[in-house]
Point group: C2
Chain length 404, copies 2
């Protein structure tokens, strides 16, 4: 498996485009994206567990019942959530794709991201769609990526090439997400395409299994969004023998999907609103997978841990504190804790009690952009990794002024 | 019932003192407090549910097994948590109170608050105690309050006078807490004294019931501390007939205890680290008490909600979002939401969808120091109130630099 260029268009037969259509006031900010496949795809998706759901999710659940899709339309600026006419508008977006791109409305995945509770106007979308369809291109991944960004500061795209039964296959994806990120069974907006031939049942199985170790292990601010969606389209153009059951081929696909999702999770965490550092918490030695996951996620979610890393302060007691209240069944007296980065590694706590360490080395380790919080909780066989970021002045600034 | 002065010394027979003994470097910051009763008291306490517990909590659980206590000693600066010799040091603190104040070590409640994982040196405590005992006074509440403060910016004390069976009684308390505040079955440090005569069983019953509606409904940053403790001492000097069972007298006591705990909860929330605003979320119309509580607490805990209020931005969608992911069984379509303050009231959402409102009025309402987030979730009979604060640059600053 190797990383390749092309993002959401890296897989055979996919084109994308992104443009400014006028949902946002700033003409320099793209606010509408379209992704299409030459041919119908098997499709799978996972959604937010928030009871307050974006209207597009209600429409997507309907459209994906048959496991088939061919296009994704997504606007940024307005979330189309908590609007009385939300479902009507989301359906109309799919109808417009049928009208202008000739793809059946029922095969369109719809997504929206932005302010909750403001009405989404269809006019700019209808006005912008013909141009967007015309702009569809195999080089369009970056534009599509820009069209779905909100407070994101960098585009998040990735693609890999790998083999199934000797046949070269590709998976690529784009993601947006910077705040309101604390996925629970689903996540922010992530669109993934592949040219692998795979049944929709196996595609859903792969996605549902993988997000538990990737997007669901990610937290920027502890807030689970109303519009989280991960959608995967696989069009089969790679030419592999169709994957319809567990086995070596499915395992290869899972491995490639996981590498795409881990890469996007890390990109989202590193671009957390206001973030200056990517924090990765690895918990090992746990007695169960659940204990490892709950522990890692609790550390990465703690405002106090996050603030300490922003200050580059080796205040390890806060990590112990976050492990202690995580709800995981842990014995504090068997916890070891090490902070690592490109600058080195420093053991700060052994068997639940502080050890002497070089503050000078700790300062160097914590000055880096990517920090590993390495927690050993005992001698169990389970591990888990969670991703997050530091909490900074900028996060507060961005979110104090977001709407007005 | 009326509010009176005197704080932790308002009840008959209690004296207190606070002083700088040298645990902290800044000689202007008091770091050791002592509270004593003339006579032994019935006593009750609740503690953090964090598995990583401060050593003093282990000692207190032992000391309060017989339901009797006569003194409280508390230092700030170092939490005596995650130290190999923590329990030994906490026991030694109680022994020093016996040595210098003549109160049995077994009747001493010990508490510590500050940095986790740094060793607590006994020398300054032993050096400071004789002077602290000498300084004990009925006017000592404010000094004791200062001795337990860490990042708190204002002292938090309150006292009330009420009657039980025609006999005037008093309850008073002091609290510290500003960050790492998200109590779960217990809370930050709160010490309460009363001259009511009440059995230790009924005192524990009253405390355990009341904190569910007061300190457990409070969140500054979602982090449950390792050292949370609420301890109540009742010395019986008011002269009322001893409360040994449910009934009118117990109800009066509960009412007074609740008013003290609500007042302290509000003070802690308003003084949340970096906070500029007290946020109160009242959820009504819930189908169960649990639903009301979980909903109110989720709103008050959301970093996005907290940031929006700092920015005085009526971004009500974030409140809906926090309700939706709270885990409470809610129907989003029956949620109404109003923001209120001394400047007025503005309805922003009706039946789960936005309504038109005056941005000018909203700006005025949100400009105040105390904001009520008034949520109606349906036509059920249950309500709950939670307290929190806004998330500000200062929170990040304080917690990025806390240890170093």
């Amino acid at each position: 498996m190797k990383e390749i260029n092309g993002g959401i268009c890296a897989a055979k037969g996919f084109k994308a485009a992104g443009a400014h259509c006028g949902i946002r006031k700033n003409p320099g900010k793209k606010d509408l994206s379209l992704i299409v496949s030459e041919v119908p795809c098997t499709a799978a998706a996972v959604y937010t567990t928030n009871l307050v759901k974006g209207a597009p999710i209600i429409v997507d659940k309907e459209h994906l019942k048959n496991g088939v899709a061919q296009a994704i339309i997504c606007n940024s600026g307005i979330a189309n959530t908590c609007n009385a006419n939300g479902v009507e508008v989301a359906n109309a977006m799919a109808d417009l794709v049928e009208k202008y791109a000739g793809i059946k409305a029922d095969d369109v995945v719809v997504a929206s991201t932005g302010v909750i509770g403001e009405p989404l106007n269809l006019e700019p979308i209808e006005a912008g769609l013909p141009g967007l369809v015309k702009a569809l291109s195999e080089d369009g991944s970056l534009d599509a990526c820009h069209g779905i960004m909100t407070t994101d500061t960098v585009e998040k795209q990735v693609a890999v090439e790998f083999e199934i039964g000797g046949v070269p296959c590709r998976i690529g994806g784009i993601a947006k997400g910077s705040g309101m990120i604390h996925p629970n069974m689903a996540t922010m907006l992530v669109f993934i395409t592949s040219d692998v031939k795979i049944s929709s049942a196996m595609l859903q199985k792969a996605l549902s299994a993988d997000i538990k170790n990737t997007f669901n292990m990610l937290s920027v601010d502890g807030d689970t969004s109303t519009n989280d969606t991960v959608a995967v389209l696989a069009n089969g153009l790679a030419g592999n023998a169709e994957i319809t059951e567990d086995g070596e081929d499915f395992a290869e696909f899972m491995k490639a999907l996981n590498s795409v999702n881990v890469a996007l999770s890390r990109k989202i965490a590193a671009d957390g609103e206001g973030a200056t550092k990517l924090l990765e918490c690895k918990v090992s030695g746990a007695a169960s997978e659940e204990i490892a996951k709950v522990s890692a996620k609790s550390v990465i979610t703690s405002s106090l841990v996050k603030s300490a890393f922003f200050g580059e302060d080796a205040n390890w007691g806060r990590v112990l504190c976050a492990l202690g209240y995580s709800g995981a069944d842990l014995d504090p007296d068997t916890i070891d804790l090490t902070f690592s980065s490109a600058a080195g590694s420093v053991l700060v706590c052994k068997n639940g009690a502080g050890v002497e360490f070089s503050e000078e080395l700790a300062a160097k380790v914590l000055h880096e952009d990517e920090i590993l919080i390495d927690v050993s909780v005992g001698d169990g066989p389970f591990t888990a990794t969670a991703w997050g970021c530091d909490l900074t002045y900028e996060y507060v600034k961005i979110n104090g002024e977001y709407r007005t």
